[in-house]
């Protein structure tokens, strides 16, 4: 009997109370101080109850918070949050973003390996380059057009992986009779001097239960696909349609092969915002309460822009005229969300309700009952548009709870999601091969 291939689930950990700017206002959350680490701990435990493979932490240093970006651009360092969460969980992994453009490889190697060792092998480093000038300037780095982001990222990642292996795999002895702690002949310094990065010395930390952290990557450019082909075990993406997912997933599989790896060595993870209710209307009405007036008006305007229609306030409460929709031409240069705008608009929702469907947002929304959302994910998965999803519930305490209690069991019952963790480490749970040091070293 062959094992059915199963999807990967990941929880996005960007906000204070959930993945919406206004999550904190939900009466179930009752946020009375910020930050509140207990909210993150509860979310992590919920995700672990739902057998999620990992939590995914973005990173937005230096950005000025604003009325429409509340939590997502708050400055908390995800390494601290992940450290605490790791101590309250036992199986779920953590993928944490740290950009190579403004970080130091020794620092990154050390903090990630420390946490990988303390968490007994559940860490991944999301090795993005970092293209945000505001973040770069906070770190005193000038991202001029000539700044070779990917050139630095390659050297940086090599250095980090080389540092991870400076402590020999079998160096730790803990021999109580001879009182030998370690065989220090197996601790070997590196000395790297590249064009962008240099580091010499050792990182004396024994291997974790999975050897060393996994490498994740995010992006979408040709450069990012090529980088992922060489280093990434997981690629966290941003796509709005099945076709886009299929294209980037195939590009990643080709890039893996081009680097002498197997196509399945890179897992492509697509984003999804589950809007869950007893029916679609209830689902979008729950979501609507987290859309503030400014955002609402911006999205109405953007829908008008992509459709080429000038809306007035009088248009809000009625469906868009199907004849106008039929005149819209989709081209390769259209907004990637246009097809979904058309599809949902043709279902007859009012313009207001169209906005509530989150057709214009950072990621596609799956709207409806638990079965609707499971069907959405299964369709993407079976079409080869994703190996899994990073899930963005509006409010952890409410919407993640419902997702875990209602959507996860359906996926498990249908055989497309695991019923329990395969092992103890993130590598075991994702089916990623053991690695210690750089790939060349293997």
């Amino acid at each position: 009997m062959t094992q059915q291939k199963q999807m990967i689930l990941s929880l996005a950990m960007f906000g204070a109370a959930g993945l919406n700017f206004k999550s904190w206002t939900d009466p179930e959350v009752k946020l009375s101080s910020y930050p509140d680490i207990n909210i993150d701990i509860e979310a992590a435990k919920l995700a672990e109850k739902g057998k999620f493979h990992f939590m995914f932490f973005g990173d937005f240093p230096g950005n000025k918070a604003s009325d429409t970006s509340d939590m997502q651009t708050m400055g908390l360092d995800p390494m601290m949050i992940a450290s605490i969460i790791s101590n309250h969980t036992e199986r779920i992994g953590m993928g944490i973003t740290r950009a190579t453009s403004w970080s130091n490889p020794y620092d990154v190697a050390r903090q990630f390996k420390t946490l990988d060792a303390l968490s007994k092998g559940r860490m991944a480093w999301n090795a993005v380059t970092g293209a945000n000038g505001v973040s770069a300037n906070a770190y005193g780095v000038n991202l001029a057009p000539s700044f070779d982001r990917y050139g630095k990222a390659y050297e940086f990642t090599e250095a980090v992986q080389a540092l991870w292996a400076t402590w020999g795999e079998d160096a730790l002895k803990l021999n109580h009779s001879t009182k030998e702690f370690a065989d220090y002949d197996q601790v070997k310094a590196i000395s790297l001097k590249g064009k962008y990065v240099q580091s010499s010395g050792t990182l004396p930390i024994p291997p974790s239960k999975q050897g060393q952290p996994l490498i994740f990557h995010s992006g979408g450019s040709e450069n990012s696909i090529a980088f992922a082909g060489k280093y990434a075990d997981v690629f966290v993406g941003e796509v709005w349609t099945i076709e886009q997912g299929q294209a980037i997933r195939q590009a990643l599989r080709d890039a893996a092969v081009a680097n002498g790896r197997q196509p399945d060595d890179i897992k492509f993870i697509a984003g999804v915002m589950p809007l869950l209710g007893d029916n679609k209307k209830e689902a979008i009405e729950r979501h609507a309460q987290f859309i503030d007036d400014d955002t609402f008006l911006q999205r109405v305007a953007h829908i008008g822009y992509v459709l080429g229609i000038d809306f007035t306030p009088a248009d809000l409460e009625k469906p868009i005229d199907p004849k106008l929709l039929d005149q819209v031409v989709v081209t390769p240069y259209s907004d990637p969300r246009l097809e979904n705008v058309l599809k949902v608009a043709r279902e007859g929702w009012s313009l207001r309700e169209l906005v509530y469907h989150s057709v214009i947002d950072y990621h596609p929304a799956a709207v409806g009952t638990a079965q609707d959302i499971a069907d959405y994910m299964t369709e993407w998965f079976e079409a080869g548009a994703a190996d899994g999803f990073w899930v963005m519930p509006d409010v952890y305490k409410v919407d993640l709870t419902r997702f875990v209690d209602e959507v996860v069991p359906i996926l498990q019952e249908e055989g497309s999601f695991h019923k329990d963790y395969e092992g103890e480490t993130l590598r075991e749970n994702l089916g990623v091969a053991y690695q210690y040091g750089t790939r060349e070293r293997e």
Copy 2:
């Protein structure tokens, strides 16, 4: 009734199982894997039970571990350990070392303020410059003689404190009726471009319960005293005699005044290794088991060197001839530990037992019963040689337990140590004034 001035206690957190290279071999520890975060958590809880004011984390990145330096130079990042510990404790503070020579100010500002907010105001940054070339090279920094360590440290510390105040003290609103998260007009970017450090942007994290982390400093040079005079709330020192403690403590008090501050604004913390037993002989015999053969022979040789005596193996088991001791001349250039070597040798211990007293070590040892150790600390404290101590027990589980159960109650009974925490934050417990932003800003 005036309140008697009381001493500060701090626990050194450098090792895996305690502050000795061989702590892990203690049968009570039974170390079977490394790292083991539970050992750190238990030590922190013990220290909190003993009402210690804070834990002190050193930092030794990049150094190659060796047979005689096992744990102390292991590469674990203290920020990760402190994050986890903070979540298992409620009152004890944490002072964590991060060197300005090889770190980035935005990174330091962000990680420390994140942890200060998550721990509800219990953090301090030990802002050392970092003079270790091996560590610097790991970070790709060349500490050439021309490297202006203190020049960078001043700019760095100003930048960190300025970043801490970019989120206005009253900006957080959490107004559930208006759904206003924050008044973003109170979030103000900085733009700093110095000779060594630059950073622009915001660090959008609300104040912790104590505003922002304290500043600690360590060292002993004139430069370090001057730096501490301007910035430090606590100075963690390395002195072997009361006279040395008095001298550096007075220098720090003078430096505070020179910067328009009060003499008591800088607390001087001296190191002490408590060797605790039912009597002195038992105390040194327990300590002896953690001294390996190489270290033992090195220390015999060093005692011979500072006394000007050539010892042979035949000398080990007998006291040093008092006539030889009388010929030793103490000069200002002598090893700072010489006076203590002479004092203990004159008590009639054998040369072997002299080594077991740890007369040659990184810090002075207090040897004997709980009352002996309390007396030692009280003598230093009353002589104005220290405002408190960083305590280095051989094994947390054994020797810290005894210290908390036996020494702490004596100090409390005698009125020289507090019976409970004064407040919730590290500032409240150390009596350090509230600060938000740079001092000039106040």
